[in-house]
Symmetry: none
Subunit: 219 residues, 4 copies
């Protein structure tokens, strides 16, 4: 029950002269190589120390080629984010049809999120960093988080109405807070490498969610 706060999809920010979208096969190859190169360099050096030349070199291209497809670091970062999004959310798609026990839904969502985070730890660290550095991505992440929290808040409200959750807690604030808890812990364990096992993390977070909402125990 946490935001996919990490993966901005829309273009973040204002445009300058839009660079081309490759028409030829070769163009597509180069553009992709650049994005992969960017990923490599970003993950290795961080956003700030990533230089255009290095990205190009990592892509096996000349530095000028970078500008065929992107205006600057921010733009290729946005492209990377977009590309990586599916990749990251993919196993999230495992169908949970038929699952109706709220506790189970929440637990599965948390686990999925944490697994995704673990798989993409370096990338998530990068997103975290860029959100602190770049206004556009900062905003984007907030918007994601908001959309997500509103969905969760709706769920909490329903549970309250059905008498299955603590009626005293404010749904929206709660939704934000519990998501924040999970995503921040994911950061601390998988990026900052807090020595906590995956299972302890999942278990504890799930229990905390359940307790916090005062969910009725599963039958």
């Amino acid at each position: 029950m946490v935001p996919e706060e990490t993966a901005p999809g829309q273009t973040a920010g204002g445009e300058r002269q839009a660079r081309i979208t490759p028409r030829s096969k070769r163009g597509v190859r180069t553009r992709n190589a650049l994005i992969q190169g960017a990923r490599e360099v970003f993950e290795r050096d961080g956003y700030l120390d990533a230089r255009i030349v290095d990205i190009s070199k990592a892509a096996g291209a000349a530095s000028g080629s970078f500008y065929t497809y992107f205006n600057d670091k921010e733009e290729i970062f946005a492209a990377l984010v977009e590309l990586v999004q599916e990749e990251m959310l993919h196993p999230h798609l495992r169908e949970r049809t038929g699952v109706s026990d709220p506790r189970e839904v929440i637990e599965a969502a948390n686990r999925d999120y944490l697994e995704m985070y673990r798989r993409n730890a370096r990338l998530m660290a990068l997103f975290e960093q860029v959100a602190q550095i770049n206004e556009n991505f900062h905003r984007l992440r907030l918007e994601r988080g908001t959309a997500f929290a509103e969905r969760n808040a709706r769920m909490i409200r329903e549970l309250q109405e059905r008498g299955q959750a603590d009626p005293e807690i404010a749904p929206l604030v709660t939704a934000y807070a519990l998501s924040a808890m999970v995503s921040r812990m994911a950061y601390m364990v998988f990026v900052a490498e807090l020595p906590i096992t995956f299972d302890d993390l999942v278990d504890t977070l799930n229990k905390l969610w359940a307790n916090a909402l005062r969910l009725k125990p599963s039958p």
Copy 2:
């Protein structure tokens, strides 16, 4: 029940040519002016865009004077952090002797933290940013957080032993998680300006803490 994760105290990082500690009255004045200038510029432009010249100018000093006292931006930032620490924690000092109800202790601590965060929002935003940018401050914040979480974990363990808290939850992970929740929410409300009132924030976070730990209700 949250970390003072924000205020590194030891000098963060390795040494180069140590700059002077001012002896003369004039020296002290200049050094302080520089730190205040740094604060001004950091808060206005962010850590990355803060230029040494601007800091010096804001301090009414020549850019060369900067190097009389500091080696670089990182060093003056550390000095700023050190200076600001007391200022930030000040009203935290309100004595809570005699308070023994755990719920009350927790609620007071959360409220204090959130008030401090609100008062120093710009500075906290800055610390958050720098922790993402600078290895040394990143590490420092983790250490703070760890020390803090361990203290909280101890408290949780004691409550569990006294039968006052859910025995199922792992104390350390829980301590980390709940602190993370509070500090992250502080960021989102006071820095990102999520439209949530202060009272709603405090209330909800306190309830979530209490629920999460399954504290027995206050008598």
Copy 3:
């Protein structure tokens, strides 16, 4: 009585790898499109800011195609000049056979020149600019001007011999000077948009010519 100083005909400059002269119908079409594209872009952006890619794009061709026909910007500019020359001089062709009164000849020539300049103001501005930028076109324009001035000088000398013009003035310098006056005024009115009406311009320049040469009044 002014130079067609604007339209270089010979190729201006040295040779490199000579590009092809199109044989196929398609080739002719592309080459012409490029020249028209060049005109468009030159007039819009000026010579300096005109980029090969833009010229090609304006021609509906790929940037590589440019080099099938031209080596560089200078070369296509020369081609443009050549092409445009006829276009510019066209109504100049109005026959003035039988006209023998020198004053009338001069007045007609001036008027024709000024009309041509007005019609092609953007192009003339461009030529003026390029002559200041490019050595070859600079020289070319001088040569044109010289040829033209010599012709005019001859005319002046004849008038002097026939007692119809001031014998005191040096024919060649005068020829240069009066031409310069007319062409520069054309620039100032039609390019720099000095607020002077066409008729005032023609009239005054004609009177100044007549006065300067001390032509006997028309009978």
Copy 4:
């Protein structure tokens, strides 16, 4: 009787971050060295091919020092123009008090202008070039020319009123045209090196002025 159209004095164009005006003696020296270096390089390579590094090098300074005082080539060019102005107009100041014969006034002015032009031919060529390249200087020159022409037009009108000049010619257009004639000829002789002697040039231009205005002969 020609414009000092060549020497813009006000700052030409919009500003960015204004660079410093040197406070120290050393600063003044460097700034001047840069302007002299600019002059050297501009005269040698032309405005377009002048590179910042070369200007700095010619000034015996590092390329970064350039930016201490100027934002770009345009700005140092403006400074050069300003500096050079007095230098150029200096002997122009020769008092002509007591001179009242209009013919004499005109002849002296023309001669002064032509001498100035000859002395500063390389610089004047440069100004001519830049006026064709740079919008701001283009405009500036026009303004100068206009102010100048208006003064001359006034003089012509007075002469007409006193019956000393051809009443048929439009004063303003005439003023523009005759100035244009002189300045353009100066360019052609001293820059383009048309093989005309200084005396022939002065004499002829003076005669053409006198004729054009139909000045009464000097007594």
